[in-house]
Amino acid sequence: MGFKFVFLWTDVALYALFVALVIYVWRVIQQPALQANWKKVLHDPAALSAGLLLLIFTSITALDSVHFRSALKPTAGASATTPIYYDTRTESLLDRVLARQMAMREITYSAPMAYLGITKESLEVDGKTVRDYPRLKFGGAHLASPEREWSGDVIRRVVTGLIGGVAVFVVVLLFVGFTIRHAHGGVVNALRDIAADRTHYPLRAMAGTLMVVCLVGGVVAALMNHYHVFGTDRTGNDVLYLSLKSVRTAFVIGALSTLATLPLAVALGILAGYFRGWVDEVIQYLYTTLTSVPNVLLIAACVLMVQVFLDQHPEMFETGVERSDLKIFLLCMILGLTGWATLCRLVRGETLKLRELDYVQAATAFGVSHTRIMARHILPNVMHLVLITTVLGFSDLILYEAVLTYVGVGVDPSMSSFGGMINLARSEMSREPTVWWLFAAAFIFMVTLVLAANLFADGVRDAFDPRSRNFRPRVITTLSGRAVKPVANP
């Protein structure tokens, strides 16, 4: 069966981001100073573990960013010359992986792991009509008499999942032990050193994170084909599926918006700091004007405009997916265009300092052109600010998305996002019985993602900004192992 790739705006932007990352990694390998800083990040256990989690979320995003439309089967008797028609539904690779979860669609809400619906319906049992909870179409459908079999089945699956998770974990651990065997004198010694946290990088913390991921992932994977692990939403969609789809939305908002701020912020910041005088005045005026408008209002105003624009130009997209994708892409651009002031101010301040330094003065004396000085001498030296602001902004934007979607100026309702899930959950918390699982799923996924992003960002900031390292909380212990409070700050 044929298919055609669909390149959505955000897909292309994410691919571009990926290419940029590869180039950046290559540069890091080339430059010893950068490499040393990144090694500091790798030496931070929290940042390393958070990086592992982020890597998993990134792979989900990557899977969900390859979109295609499969060809419809040609009607019987059609000649070979008839054009191939494609499905109106745009799918991603993640949809293919989770095809079963997508198909497991119930009528309405159902609790996590349930095999019965949550509201009573009129059912026909042996020719008589009774009011009872209906069986779900998919959740626990394989059980013949669920009252007796349910708990046994769930336990069996959980145990299988745990065993599978442990197996994956052990394989990965052995592989890691095998790769570092030379430095530690054999695989067994290497594993022992990991357990005692005597490795070059904090592998023990990473192994702990990996173990949790493997166990949770194993259990979920073992259950998800026959139960709704996180229940279903109002229209019966599997909440686990929705949450996994929301990861990409959060990622797109977090990554593309911060990326969109960079060109303006860096270019204007360097220009203002380098040329000073009226250029500086104009640029300062621009960003003061921008920051004096309340952020949410500015974004709301822009999004309203985009909404009108999209309504007037229906020819720009073929499917609903493309429309909501263009909307989120424009939202990222708006967030970028309204959020560059902070970074611009930082870059300007740093450039003001840098331009007085000897090497810049020397370059000027040699007659190097302004453009070249800015590009070769100043830009590389403000990059650490850019990096720190970018990683710190990532998690803020994910949180911001939820608020914006709640206000009604965020992601399109047809696109699954954490904000949308919270919004739905909010109206259902007052139901009887309480529908809490939508809320719980959004909470778990969002907190994991944001926490991982925050910890990673802290690691990066500590590595690249020497000042911030002093603020790291660390317990100083005496020889007897008790924590002490020193009088002076070292």
Partner: protein, 327 residues
Amino acid sequence: MITYLSRRLGYALLILIGVNLFTFFLFFSVNTPDDMARLNIGGKRITQEQIGKWKAERGYDKPLYWNDKEEGSAKLTRTIVWERSVSLLALDFGRSDARNAVNIGHEIKVRMGVSLQLAVPVFILQLIASTSFALMLVFFRHSRIDFWGVVLCVLMLSISSLFYIIVGQFLFARVLRLVPISGYSGGLDAVKFLIMPVLLSLLARLGGEARLYRAMLLEEIGKDYVRTARAKGVAEHWVLFRHVLRNALIPIITSAGSYLPYVFMGSLVFESFFGIPGLGAFVIEAITGQDFAIVRSMVFLGAILYIASNVLIDLIYTWVDPRVRLV
């Protein structure tokens, strides 16, 4: 002082004109007054007469930037951009675009009072709570209390404020039935409606701010005068309160001051979740109703408040730090 204030005033005017032109351009570059009329009248079949009437009622029946039909300076003044800008700069917000055409200025006056009832306690308590928490962490620095305190902060700031609100409402209003879920009433009754939004608002921002203030305090604590004070034998708590806190107040005030405009503008999320009829809820209504006149007025008001609070922060600096001179 006077030169400072007059300079700030001049700059403020420039910025306000910029903000006004910017929002105007933003709104009208994408949709014309005709589109707005269609949107607001609603319904499928709209005649040109209806649109004309709607525009005439609201003064949108002129060209946007340049009026060719008029003579002399009227070419510039008999346009939408001029009339709207002048009235905004004179703080006359006019009426909303929606069918009921509420008086925006009156609405702002009434609702700002309500917003202040929620935002002033939040602002003051926030400053006290975050600073005390940060002081505690700094006092116990390099101990387990500090370490786990910071872990708690990071965890708290990773949770969206929406989660705090939903859980808080569910727990205290639905399960424990201590306070009403949402709503508002004037007078002393307001306390029972406001107590939960105030507390949840404190909790939602505590993590991020306490961590920030902790860093600011630690920055001060590493300085020489602190070492001198310790060398003289000043007690640790005395060092912290008399020396460190007073010097760290400047960055703390700067950071807290950035919330000042929102004290008057009201919190979007908290007001609409708890059904408090303040300015934040007003904005959300305007956004969902796509009422551009209200959004533009609020953008303008926000800009004024931002500039005013910046001046206020500068004035507070002179009080906190006598070395600061405003010129």
